[in-house]
Symmetry: C2
Subunit: 226 residues, 2 copies
DNA sequence: GCTGTAACTTGAACATGTTCAAATTGATTC
DNA sequence: GAATCAATTTGAACATGTTCAAGTTACAGC
């Protein structure tokens, strides 16, 4: 069960070959159609060896997820370095998510459901995915704090986590999107990012103060469970 | 693949026995721990017979879902007949969802993930689950329209579908809730239902008009995909 | 060079969802 | 009552994720 980190060069080679074969095959055939035997076969190792480095097929998905996160982070680095406007930063970041994931669109459905399973070790609220989740949340913290938007501290504290949830919602929509060029998802992104930024601007209105407090308490309560 | 509806009394008996055995076992052992062989065994039929009436194990989950929906609808009927206040109706309805589902809490995780899988025939946005989804949406339409709340028509038109989404979100939270008596979920329900009703009251404020239109367009766009 | 040990590798074995061709049943028709 | 035929039932066979005990490798210490 425990993940065995390779301790020799030979082990590193094997682990890397298995991971690389898995990523390729997931992309080529999808998650379910990729068998552990096929992964082992392409990696040039035996079936049992795969289980030495990855406790289950699901754990290979986690690596897949990490892979796309790294692509995404690299893709938006220039934007985050250059741009100050929050709406532009947010829109660019979320657009980049779906652009980065586009090659995996056909695969994404089964992967998402694997990850959404609360009893899976991989579910984003749970233990195994925690390091990766924190990386993504940190990325959204940079999106927010690197902007020139003036956001009340109580809102700013919870915004990155909320944006991470928002990203997951967009991805779920994207999975169902069959429109050419995934245009509908891009439209929804443009709409929602603008809406979010606008609502952030309204958060200081007296009439919304009460609701804002409620919402913040709620988000804190919901997320601290994870 | 096609679902075979029983055409003889004998077939009806078999189908009913399989379904009943499945519901019992899902509750006793959970979804994954229940094997098709165990279902067939308890139902007193052979393994192959189960597949004559239910194309897959997942399809048995759909029946499970339908079962809880019927329990839920029955549970809230008195409330809906008596009460006029929207906040009370909504809170009672959502509370009843988690109360009804409580016996299945341990099982709910894997069931939810099965259902959330976009490539599953069962996913709530897709085809096979459509009739049931429409029943649930209709139930929320009754919650809204049977109240004395005065809601703008454009909002009222989309509210039931939105509340259905809201119910799914609450259920997802509930699945993770390990607090005694599921108190945290009940708290979140109280908070969110009050928030929803309050925001509905604010929807007519001029400053929110623009956002309201945006939000409605968005919800329509998101849901018509299904 | 030898030995011991930890790391690594292997593939057979197992459990379980699913398929399918063949067997059985039971009602309808003559 | 015999023939027919669709509905139903059966269980063996298959694919695949996972486990595990046994085998192999390679390096550290002598």
């Amino acid at each position: 069960m425990a993940i065995a980190l390779p301790k020799t060069r030979r082990g590193e080679t094997s682990r890397a070959a298995i991971l690389s074969a898995a990523l390729d095959l997931f992309q080529e055939r999808g998650y379910e159609a990729t068998t552990m035997r096929a992964i082992a076969g392409r990696a040039g190792v035996s079936l049992g060896s795969s289980y030495h480095y990855f406790p289950s097929k699901e754990h290979l998905v986690l690596e897949f997820y990490r892979h796309t996160h790294e692509l995404h982070a690299a893709a938006i680095a220039p934007l985050l370095a250059r741009e100050q406007d929050l709406a532009v930063r947010l829109r660019g970041t979320i657009r980049a998510v779906v652009v980065t994931c586009e090659p995996f669109h056909a695969v994404a459905g089964s992967i998402f459901s694997t990850v959404a399973n609360p009893s899976s070790p991989l579910n984003p609220f749970g233990g195994a995915a925690k390091p990766l989740r924190e990386e993504v949340v940190a990325l959204y913290a940079e999106v927010v704090h690197g902007s020139d938007a003036r956001i009340p501290p109580d809102v700013a504290a919870l915004l990155p986590l909320t944006l991470w949830l928002y990203q997951m919602a967009i991805l779920y929509f994207w999975i169902f999107d069959r429109s050419p060029g995934r245009l509908r998802t891009l439209e929804v992104i443009d709409e929602t990012t603008e809406l979010i930024v606008r609502l952030l601007g309204l958060a200081n209105l007296p009439v919304l103060r009460g609701s804002r407090k409620r919402i913040l308490t709620l988000i804190k309560s919901v997320t601290e469970q994870a």
